[in-house]
């Protein structure tokens, strides 16, 4: 048949199927007309009316069969069976609304959690990065996680043969480093300098306008002439007005033309710099001598077709060695290649793996629980099934009906789950405070829908199979007469249900232990000595909107800002820094006078901070030795430096560092030693640090006013702004951040993981306790008569209770033993996610074990208590 007529045929079939009841009626009418005509003809031949009718029917054949046959031309048999089963299931659901609601709720919660986690895994790990042919993109770091010098980039780009091109962007752009003035409210923008070929290398075209021209890439670093807007900034600032492209804006007092707009799909921030929204892109002129020196460039490359990562790594390693020996004046470059997608999501994949496993375990518990519930209902279904079997339903037909019921239930659950997952993913995508890459692209898409469907069907089959097998085996063997008194018949049954409960408890135990270990790690992380005190400290960005032309102007600005801020009521201390802990970084190599460094003994590379007097007090960084900076450390006075304990230990082990001199930055004398500050992550020790007095240097990119307050910092932000207005009326008003925010942000991925896992564990615990409750109360209800007799014969209530409780605790203990053993093995997989606890942390294991037993005991106690109040007379009379 031709495709067109096949399509027509399909459409007709669908139409017939949609109004099959109407069609069926008409078919019968048609056949009745036929029989009527035959009857009339036979009657005309002289047959009596009833005889004629009977003969006509005989000649016609079985009408029902024919109509079914006719119907089967437009619906296949299995489909009509399915419809029948479904209709039956829904009728059953209505009859047993409580059970249905509970099943749908539990399955919905499980599937919802599963789909949400799947969407995350999909967005962060499975879905390709939003660039052209992302599999060939490689992240080229400089020995681990550092950036490289632009000179090195240029040479690498020139000399390599493995890559079709290399591109770079500034790894040390600072949030809010450009000030937008002129039209509208002044605002600080975050700009990322990129090399001219950056977008073409990624394969991303501007949605409107164009990318940078070669000419635009030749200008001055500090005064770009062109910029590209990010989509989110365009939407926020310009209300998605396409005519802004081509307009001129004033950035840091220079005129810059908007040459293009990046598409919404290009989310630089969420891929390459999670957590810091980027507003604009500017060209990075590599020939400009005023650009920042040092390791500032992050490099990516696109592999040539046919080149392997290993091959490229080998070539670049050799190239790096060659460059290092040719240019000893430069910082060394040690290229290390990682596929870009691994670099982006590598750090989160262990956590996602744990989450995925956890959600899988939750689904298993859900299935075990529902299976158990179904089994409990079998007693009532048994008779019906036996009757069906007696009427000729085959075993596979019964099995199919039972499975249809459970899958229908789980699909209803999936609808609820999908709603939950949609809400969940929307929440996730808007968690800007979270430091996770690609989080904004988390959503329910086609593959997530498919996953949900798959999860629904699988779980439906999984939790329906065991009861279905039970019921069909039993109904064919035992027939109708059983079922009334489930006294002995329940034995095998009980065994299966006990097994289910034990596995539920074991799974719950695994989740509890996992969550427990992570919660303890989280508490340990929060307990870490940060080196500063985040409570009641906050930072406000105060880069002057005017150009500072010399030390005199700079220092009078600093004096004025600090004097005015300190006079605001409620301010305990105030200072200025260029970098905030846990957010910004830069490092220099530093050497001490009189020490020799070489290849085998490289100089330490401390993190550099430029701070004013009062900063240590405001941030709460304790002084260990010597003195802090004062107002008198100025351009004209002796050049001084403050270092942290680690740097002091590294440079001058077992000596007094105060009074020593370093050679870096024109030579500086150490006047004080302060405590180590953790500024990369809470989990990571600080490393060496060095503080330069702000009044003695101009080598900093930002000014952050840090205050320590007596009141909650938020309430003082407005006061500080008012106080500073006379100094610089154009100070921007956003960008107020408390130190607590910085800490929260740094721990956000961990908190996220802990919250989700704790949620899963709690859900699992509830399900397991419901499971044990259901099993115990079922066994009690089955044995009401026996209990009645026992009570009548003088068994005491406590006796009975302890008997039932013992059984409960017995089940729980078996589950616990299995779960603990599995946990001990599996918890090692948590690896790096643990902090300050071992994977076999006895306290966690003991606490979680106790919790599980206690909850199980409570769940078992309720039916036990009810059993002990059974009235023997009523119990014996019933049934």
């Amino acid at each position: 048949m031709r495709a067109g007529s096949r399509w027509k045929c399909f459409r007709r079939r669908l139409r017939y199927w949609l109004d099959h009841s109407q069609r069926n009626r008409l078919l019968w009418e048609e056949m009745e007309f036929h029989i009527e005509s035959m009857t009339q003809e036979l009657a005309a031949q002289g047959m009596s009316e009833p005889n004629a009718r009977a003969a006509a029917h005989r000649k016609f054949g079985n009408m029902t069969q024919k109509s079914e046959e006719a119907r089967s031309t437009w619906i296949a048999r299995w489909m009509s069976d399915l419809v029948q089963d479904l209709r039956y299931s829904f009728r059953g659901m209505r009859r047993d609304a409580g059970f249905t609601a509970f099943t749908i709720l539990i399955a919905g919660l499980g599937i919802g959690a599963g789909s949400t986690v799947f969407s995350m895994v999909n967005a962060l790990l499975l879905r390709p990065l939003p660039f052209r042919d992302p599999g060939r993109l490689v992240w080229i770091s400089n020995g681990g996680n550092f950036a490289a010098q632009t000179e090195q980039y240029s040479d690498l780009r020139e000399l390599n043969r493995s890559f079709s091109d290399l591109a770079g962007w500034s790894g040390f752009y600072i949030p809010g480093d450009r000030q937008l003035t002129g039209a509208g409210e002044p605002e600080r923008l975050t700009s990322v300098p990129v090399t001219g070929n950056f977008f073409s290398l990624l394969g991303v075209e501007p949605a409107i306008g164009r990318s940078f021209t070669a000419e635009e890439c030749q200008g001055k670093y500090s005064a770009p002439t062109a910029m590209l807007l990010s989509y989110s900034f365009w939407r926020r600032r310009f209300d998605s007005d396409p005519s802004v492209v081509g307009r001129k804006l004033t950035l840091n007092n220079h005129t810059v033309t908007i040459v293009g707009l990046m598409p919404a799909s290009f989310d630089f921030a969420s891929v390459l710099a999670p957590g810091t929204p980027v507003d604009i892109f500017i060209p990075w002129p590599l020939n400009d001598k005023t650009k920042p020196a040092g390791n500032t460039m992050k490099i990516i490359g696109r592999l040539k077709p046919g080149t392997t990562l290993q091959g490229a790594q080998a070539e670049l390693t050799a190239l790096g060695k060659q460059l290092n020996s040719q240019h000893p004046e430069r910082n060394p470059v040690v290229p290390r290649l990682v596929p870009l997608d691994r670099h982006v999501s590598g750090s989160v994949s262990p956590a996602l793996f744990v989450l995925a496993c956890a959600v899988g375990v939750v689904m298993l518990i859900v299935c075990a629980n529902l299976s158990n519930l179904q089994l409990a209902r079998l007693g009532t279904r048994q008779k019906e099934m036996a009757l069906r079997a007696a009427l000729g339903a085959g075993r596979s037909r019964l099995l199919r009906q039972m499975l249809t019921e459970s899958v229908a239930l789980s699909c209803c659950g999936a609808v609820l789950g999908l709603a939950l997952a949609m809400a969940g993913t929307r929440e996730l995508a808007h968690l800007h405070a979270f430091n996770l890459p690609l989080l904004e692209s988390v959503r329910i898409d086609g593959s997530a829908l498919l996953f949900t469907l798959l999860a629904a069907v699988t779980s439906g089959v999984l939790f329906g199979l065991l009861p279905a097998l039970q019921v069909t085996v039993r109904s064919l063997r035992e027939g109708i007469q059983d079922a009334s008194r489930g006294s002995s018949g329940g034995k095998r049954h009980a065994w299966v249900r006990d097994g289910l409960v034990v596995s539920e408890l074991a799974f719950a135990c695994i989740l509890l232990v996992g969550a427990g270990l992570l919660i303890r790690s989280f508490l340990r992380v929060l307990d870490v000595n940060l080196g500063f005190q985040p409570e009641r400290a906050a930072a406000l960005r105060i880069n002057p909107s005017f150009r500072i032309s010399g030390f005199a102007q700079q220092n009078s600005f600093i004096d004025e800002v600090l004097r005015r801020t300190r006079s605001v009521p409620g301010i305990l201390a105030a200072g200025i820094t260029d970098m905030l802990p846990l957010r910004d970084d830069r490092s220099w190599a530093v050497s001490a006078v009189g020490q020799v460094y070489g290849k085998s003994h490289p100089p330490p590379e401390p993190f550099i901070r430029v701070v004013s007097d009062g900063y240590f007090e405001a941030a709460g960084i304790p002084l260990r030795l010597g003195r802090e900076f004062t107002e008198r450390d100025r351009a004209s006075s002796e050049r001084v430096v403050v270092i942290n304990e680690t740097l002091a230990r590294t440079l001058w082990p077992a000596q007094n560092p105060v009074g020593q001199t370093i050679t870096t930055d024109g030579g500086r004398k150490v006047v004080g030693v302060v405590a180590d500050v953790r500024h990369e992550a809470l989990e990571k020790a600080g490393g060496p640090e060095m503080y330069l007095p702000m009044r003695q240097t101009a080598d900093y990119a930002a000014m952050q006013l840090v205050v320590r307050t007596a009141l909650p910092p938020d309430s003082l932000a407005a006061g500080i702004r008012t106080a500073l207005r006379p100094v610089d009326p154009n100070l921007p008003v956003r960008e107020f951040v408390t130190f607590q925010d910085l800490v929260d942000r740094a721990v956000s991925p961990r908190r996220f993981l802990v919250l989700l896992l704790a949620g899963f564990a709690a859900f699992a615990l509830i399900l397991a306790s419901l499971g044990i409750y259901a099993v115990i109360s079922y066994s009690v209800s089955q044995r009401v008569q026996e209990i009645g007799i026992r009570i009548a014969l003088g068994a005491s209530a406590t006796d009975l209770q302890s008997r039932i409780l013992l059984r409960t605790v017995g089940l729980a203990a078996v589950g616990l033993a299995l779960g603990m053993t599995a946990s001990r093995v599996l918890s090692t997989a948590l690896g790096n996610l643990l902090f300050g606890v071992t994977s076999g942390d006895p306290i966690t294991f003991i606490l979680m074990g106790t919790l599980l037993i206690a909850v199980a005991a409570v769940a078992g106690y309720i039916p036990a208590w009810r059993a002990s109040r059974v009235d023997p007379m009523i119990a014996l009379r019933s049934n």
Binding site: Y16, H34, M38, G61, K66, S67, E69, A70, S72
Partner: protein
């Protein structure tokens, strides 16, 4: 789900072909079709009359015939079928095939 096969004790596909051929004569209802098949074959072909209806459904589904409700000779509601252009084409194909097959069978059996 392709074209459904008839389950009559005729050669497969024959009933469909016969119905289509009969409908070349004009609009007819099921009973008339059954009557005509019987008469034209001199009562030789005995179709279980009920089997006609699955066949009619199948033909209609394939778009070879179209049914519509009308009134019979004795003023009762009946469903009349007519051949569609597609049906005409199908009938031509079927009869050509049938002629080939029966010819071949006849040659083997030595009838021809």
């Amino acid at each position: 789900m392709g074209v459904e096969k008839p389950k009559a004790d005729l050669l497969p596909g024959t009933l469909d072909m016969l119905v289509l051929k009969i409908l070349m004569r004009g609009h007819l209802h099921g009973y008339a079709i059954a009557q005509l098949i019987q008469q034209l074959s001199d009562d030789l072909l005995r179709v279980e009359e009920g089997s006609l209806y699955p066949a009619l459904q199948r033909l209609e589904l394939n778009g070879w015939i179209e049914g519509e409700w009308g009134l019979s000779a004795n003023n009762r509601r009946a469903r009349f079928y007519k051949l569609t252009p597609d049906g005409r084409k199908h009938l031509a194909e079927q009869s050509a095939r049938y002629r080939q097959v029966t010819g071949a069978v006849a040659r083997i059996m030595g009838f021809a």
